[in-house]
């Protein structure tokens, strides 16, 4: 059924379709409407889940870790400061292998206050052992929540996943979304049956003290299983395509990159703008393309390394790692180590600043320019009021 809904509504509907059993709920802009939609569906009886009000995001995640051990499929959503407050327990969740799925309405973190979209909150959590999926549009949000459960709960993975939704740009804008039938979803996503699970007849302890003699091996297992998740993500995406008729290219969606002289790596909603500009510039005969980074954790190093045959590679970061460029830029560049490509960082879309078609066009033309004339500068702050008159 095609419905006109926001990405937040899509995320909540996906939770319902995934038959989540326990939801922990705490408000934060621009995530709140996910929680509200859940409340609405639980109260109307459309959805059969334990709806748990918590007093902070830290408690939301802590509660879900406990619930997940009992074998419940769990869900919460957060944003910005809420995600930062969870930091400690995000690591706990991945460390004890709880496949919690959590949409994150990506937003700036203060101070000073800013409630609008950027990726700083999620980028700051890139090292905590969670998978990170970045969505381009509302449909992809719904689909990715389902895929995320599929991958997270795979016995060979058992790691939590964030589904990144650009704050306001997607969370609060209405778009056409094909909402799948429950039966189809049930066919795609089986019930959560973790093993081991809390068992009253076999009392065991979960998450207790590990000494230095085995800690390394437990960490290695997480690293290896996160790496292995790449295969599961590609499979889950293909299977999704077979059942629902939509798939997203696995970890990276390549858009008109085959013969491109300049490729922009970009995650989230800005990819939509970039693709439109690509179509326009292609009309002018310019060979440009987009490699949409759909999954940042695990990092798709193989897919990125393939870009080395594509000339200039630009990386658009909607965040900044103070001290050394954007995180996506640095990781893309690192994955392309040994190639001759020019890799340039474009930083923009911070704190709710629009990423316009004009910005994207400037970026593509700049990439083609440096292909001929060499790198002008390593990092470009797109749209920065620098008095240059470029934007």
């Amino acid at each position: 059924m095609i419905d006109a809904i926001t990405a937040n509504q899509a995320a909540a509907l996906a939770a319902k379709l995934a038959r989540i059993e326990v939801a922990a709920v705490y408000p934060i802009t621009p995530q709140t409407t996910i929680s509200e939609k859940l409340a609405e569906m639980v109260s109307s009886g459309e959805m059969d889940a334990r709806f748990m009000l918590v007093e902070s995001e830290h408690s939301a995640m802590s509660a879900l870790i406990g619930a997940s051990y009992v074998g419940a499929r769990t869900f919460t959503a957060t944003s910005s400061h809420g995600l930062a407050l969870m930091h400690e327990v995000l690591m706990w969740a991945s460390g004890v292998r709880r496949p919690i799925v959590m949409p994150v309405a990506a937003r700036a973190i203060g101070g000073p206050w800013n409630i609008w979209g950027e990726h700083m909150d999620v980028i700051a959590e890139r090292d905590v052992g969670w998978m990170q999926f970045y969505c381009e549009n509302n449909q992809e949000v719904l689909d990715t929540v389902l895929m995320a459960y599929k991958v997270a709960e795979d016995p060979s993975v058992m790691l939590p996943a964030m589904v990144v939704i650009d704050g306001f740009i997607l969370t609060h804008t209405v778009d056409a979304v094909d909402v799948p039938e429950q039966g189809q979803v049930d066919g795609y996503l089986p019930a959560f049956r973790p093993d081991p699970v809390l068992n009253m007849d076999e009392p065991r302890r979960f998450g207790g003290l590990v000494m230095p003699d085995w800690w390394t091996e437990f960490r290695y297992r997480i690293a290896a299983d996160m790496e292995g998740a790449k295969i599961r993500i590609r499979e889950a995406d293909r299977e999704f395509g077979r059942i629902f008729g939509r798939s997203y290219g696995g970890l990276v969606e390549n858009y008109r990159t085959e013969d491109a002289d300049a490729v922009l790596v970009v995650a989230g909603s800005a990819a939509g703008t970039a693709k439109e500009v690509v179509d326009r510039l292609r009309g002018e005969g310019l060979k440009v393309g987009v490699a949409r980074l759909r999954v940042f954790r695990p990092f798709p190093s193989e897919e990125i390394a393939e870009l080395s045959s594509r000339g200039v590679v630009g990386v658009f970061d909607r965040s900044y790692t103070f001290g050394d460029g954007g995180a996506m830029f640095n990781e893309v560049r690192s994955a392309m180590h040994g190639s001759d490509n020019i890799v340039k960082n474009y930083v923009g879309g911070l704190g709710g600043r629009d990423v316009t078609a004009a910005h994207m066009e400037w970026i593509f033309r700049n990439m083609l320019d440096i292909a001929d004339n060499g790198l002008d500068r390593k990092i470009e702050w797109v749209g920065l009021r620098d008095g240059s008159g470029r934007w």
Binding site: M158, P194, D195, R204, F218
Partner: protein, 91 residues
């Protein structure tokens, strides 16, 4: 019991009990119970932090599980009949 990372349980969970931990090696003094003085009030059993005073069933005399007893001396301190003495372990 585990040799490589491959042998580990899929998530971190315990698989054994602490029963084979020889906490008795921590002990400097061992409790010795005098059966003549013992009234079987079971105070020693109730207060033992280490589950090392054993009473098999109601009516039995208590005995000490020296494999686990850490020698804290609570049993001797709490025995109202003075039926338990703490004796130094040989070096």
């Amino acid at each position: 019991m585990y040799e490589t990372y491959r042998d580990l349980p899929p998530i971190q969970v315990t698989t054994e009990t602490t029963v084979d931990m020889p906490t008795g090696t921590w002990r400097t003094f061992r409790p010795v119970i005098s059966a003549e003085r013992c009234t079987r009030c079971y105070s020693c059993w109730k207060f033992c932090p280490d589950l090392s005073i054993v009473v098999q069933q109601e009516g039995d005399y208590p005995y000490v599980d020296l494999f686990h007893c850490k020698g804290c001396g609570i049993c001797a301190n709490e025995c109202r009949r003075g039926a338990i003495t703490m004796e130094r372990e040989p070096l």
